[in-house]
C-alpha cells in the first residue's frame, strides 16, 4: 500500500507552474509624448464597458487528455490552454484600464486635459472586448512501481513542452464630438489592439500575467496615437492648429518629405529647399503615428519646416504649388502625395 501511495502522489502531481497570484494591469512605465505636442481640446473618458466573453472571466487550465491506471503504474497525458480569469488578470482590471487610458492620453498630450468625468470637447468611449493572457501546455507522466520483498524500484518518466505566453487586449474605441451643433456625432470608431509575447519558462503563469500588462500598455499606446491622429485630421489635434495656405500666397522656402521605417517605429523626415531642391536637414524621430503611411515610401509631409501641421486644404494647395517643380503623385495613399523627386531629373 505504501508503494501505491507513492505513485499515486506522483501521478497526481501538478504541472509545476506555481500558484497564481492576484493580477493587475498596472505594468510598465507610461511613456511621454515622443515629439512636442500642442493639444487643443479637452477629452473625457467615461467608465469602460466590459464585454469580455465568459471564458475570459472564468479562465481555463490545462486538462487531462488520457489517464490510465494499470495496476503497477499510471500514465497521464495533459494538454490544453491556460487562460487567465478575473483573479489572474485582476479583479479591478476594467477600472484599471480606464485609469491607465487616462494616464496614457495625458502623458501623450493628446488633449489639454483628460478627465474621468465632467464636460469636455470630446468623449472617448471604450469597450473591453478582450483582456486575457494565455499559454498552451502539454505534458505526459508515466510512473511504474516494481516492488519485491527486498526492494522497491520506481520508473518515472515526465516530459513536458513549454510554449510562449501571450497577452491580448482588444478595445472598441469611439470618439464622440461633444462640441456645438455636431454634439453627439461619432467621428471615429476602431478596434484598438495590444499584443505581447513572453518566453516559455518555469514561471508560466507569471509570464502570462506580464504579457497581459504589456499588451495593455501596447493597446493604450496605440490608442493614444490613433486618438491623436483622428483629432489632427479634424484640425484640433495635438500637432497644433493647422496651417492654412491662402490662395496665391508665396510658397514656403522649405518643405518636408518623410518615410516610415520598415517596422513603423521611426519616421525619417528630410527638409528640402523649395527653390533649389537641396536637402537642408535630416531628422529621425519616433513615429508619432505608426500607421500614418506605408513603410519605405517617400511622401510629402503634412508638417511644415516650422513644425506646423497642414490642414487638408492647406496640404492640397501646398502640393499643387510644389507640383510645378517636383514630381508629386497621389498613387497609393489618400492622405499623402508620393514624392518622386525633381521633375525631369530622372
Amino acid at each position: 500500500m505504501r508503494h501505491l501511495s507513492v505513485f499515486l502522489a506522483l501521478a497526481l502531481f501538478g504541472c509545476g507552474a506555481g500558484a497564481p497570484v492576484r493580477g493587475t494591469l498596472l505594468g510598465p512605465e507610461i511613456p511621454a509624448a515622443p515629439v512636442p505636442r500642442t493639444p487643443q481640446i479637452t477629452l473625457a473618458v467615461p467608465s469602460v464597458i466590459d464585454e469580455r466573453p465568459d471564458d475570459e472571466h472564468e479562465g481555463s487550465s490545462v486538462r487531462t487528455r488520457l489517464f490510465i491506471f494499470f495496476g503497477v503504474g499510471v500514465h497521464i497525458r495533459r494538454e490544453g490552454n491556460f487562460l487567465t480569469n478575473d483573479f489572474t488578470v485582476g479583479p479591478d482590471a476594467i477600472k484599471e484600464l480606464r485609469g491607465l487610458a487616462i494616464q496614457h492620453l495625458t502623458a501623450g498630450q493628446v488633449a489639454k486635459k483628460v478627465v474621468a468625468t465632467g464636460a469636455a470637447d470630446f468623449e472617448l468611449r471604450l469597450v473591453a472586448e478582450h483582456v486575457y493572457g494565455t499559454h498552451f501546455a502539454a505534458n505526459k507522466q508515466t510512473v511504474v512501481v516494481l516492488s519485491s520483498k527486498q526492494s522497491t524500484d520506481a520508473f518515472v518518466d515526465v516530459q513536458s513542452h513549454n510554449y510562449a505566453a501571450y497577452g491580448n487586449v482588444t478595445l472598441r474605441a469611439q470618439l464622440v464630438d461633444k462640441r456645438g451643433a455636431g454634439a453627439g456625432n461619432v467621428v471615429w470608431t476602431e478596434h484598438v489592439t495590444g499584443y505581447a509575447q513572453r518566453p516559455a519558462g518555469e514561471q508560466r503563469i507569471l509570464e502570462v500575467q506580464n504579457a497581459v500588462q504589456l499588451a495593455t500598455a501596447d493597446a493604450l499606446a496605440t490608442l493614444t496615437q490613433r486618438v491623436g491622429a483622428t483629432l489632427d485630421r479634424l484640425g484640433v489635434g495635438p500637432s497644433g492648429a493647422p496651417m492654412v495656405l491662402a490662395s496665391g500666397s508665396a510658397l514656403p522656402a522649405t518643405f518636408a518629405i518623410e518615410r516610415m521605417s520598415r517596422y513603423r517605429d521611426f519616421l525619417e523626415r528630410v527638409f528640402v529647399d523649395t527653390s533649389t531642391g537641396r536637402v537642408l536637414r535630416h531628422e529621425v524621430m519616433p513615429a508619432p503615428d505608426r500607421y500614418s503611411s506605408r513603410p519605405g515610401d517617400w511622401v510629402l509631409s503634412r508638417v511644415t519646416a516650422e513644425g506646423l501641421h497642414l490642414s487638408g486644404d492647406g496640404y492640397e494647395a501646398f502640393a499643387r504649388a510644389l507640383a510645378a517643380r517636383y514630381d508629386l503623385r497621389r498613387v497609393d495613399d489618400v492622405t499623402h502625395y508620393h514624392f518622386f523627386g525633381v521633375r525631369g531629373a530622372t
Partner: protein
C-alpha cells in the same frame, strides 16, 4: 490511511479519455484532408470610375497567429511552437488593396484612418468616393505535417467583416467574408499575401460588392 488510499485508488483507476484543445486559445484545429486548396487567385476585370477609399483594417483576432504542427512524429504534443505577429491585419490590408487594384478599381488607401465618413478631407470628399472599412475577425496561419499527407502544408484562415459606405455614412453593403484553405509548403509563398488576394478575389466576384462600389464587370 489504507482506506483513504484505497478510495483514491478506486476513484482514479481505469481509463479516462477526454478531448481538451490541441490548439492555442481561439485557434481552430484544421482537418488538412478536408481543407480545400487555396489555389492561385483569379481577379476578374472590373470597370469602375468611382474612387474607392480602403480604410486600414482593424482587428479583433488574437495572438498567437498560428503554430507549427507535426502530427506525424511527436513526443508530447503535435504543436511544436506558436507564432506571434502583431501587424497581421495591416499586412492583409495591403494585399487586399493590391488585389482590388488588379481588378482595375481605382483604390486609394487610408493608412491614417479606417475610411470614416466624418474624417474624409474636402478634396477627396469632392470626388464622392465609396468608403470601405473592414475588421479582421479571424486570422490564422498554421504549418502542418500531417500523417495522411505526402507533403507539408500551410493552412490559413481569414474572416473579415466589411462595410461599404458613402461619404455621408449611408451603408451600401455590410457583409462578412471568409477565406480558408491550404497549399503545399514551398518556402516561397506568403500566406498572408495569398489570403489577402483570395479575399480580393471573393470581393471582386461578389455582385453585391461590385454594385456597392459602383463598378461593373468588364464585358458583362
Amino acid at each position: 490511511m489504507k482506506r483513504l488510499v484505497l478510495a483514491l485508488l478506486l476513484a482514479s483507476s481505469g481509463c479516462y479519455w477526454s478531448s481538451p484543445p490541441s490548439t492555442p486559445h481561439r485557434s481552430v484545429r484544421f482537418d488538412v484532408g478536408a481543407t480545400p486548396d487555396l489555389g492561385k487567385p483569379q481577379i476578374p476585370a472590373l470597370a469602375g470610375n468611382r474612387l474607392v477609399v480602403l480604410g486600414r483594417f482593424d482587428t479583433t483576432a488574437g495572438n498567437p497567429i498560428g503554430g507549427l504542427y507535426d502530427r506525424k512524429d511527436y513526443e508530447v504534443s503535435a504543436l511544436q511552437r506558436t507564432y506571434f505577429f502583431k501587424d497581421g491585419a495591416v499586412e492583409i490590408f495591403e494585399h487586399v488593396s493590391d488585389g482590388l487594384r488588379a481588378s482595375g478599381l481605382p483604390v486609394l488607401k487610408d493608412y491614417a484612418g479606417r475610411a470614416e465618413p466624418a474624417l474624409v478631407e474636402p478634396a477627396v470628399r469632392a470626388q464622392a468616393p465609396m468608403l470601405v472599412s473592414a475588421t479582421v475577425t479571424a486570422l490564422q496561419h498554421d504549418q502542418i505535417r500531417d500523417k495522411k499527407e505526402s507533403v507539408d502544408v500551410e493552412v490559413g484562415l481569414l474572416e473579415v467583416a466589411l462595410l461599404v459606405r458613402d461619404v455621408n455614412g449611408k451603408v451600401a453593403l455590410s457583409k462578412t467574408y471568409r477565406v480558408e484553405g491550404r497549399y503545399p509548403y514551398d518556402g516561397l509563398t506568403d500566406m498572408l499575401k495569398l489570403l489577402g488576394w483570395k479575399l480580393a478575389e471573393k470581393l471582386t466576384a461578389d455582385p453585391a460588392f461590385i454594385a456597392a462600389v459602383g463598378a461593373t464587370k468588364k464585358g458583362g
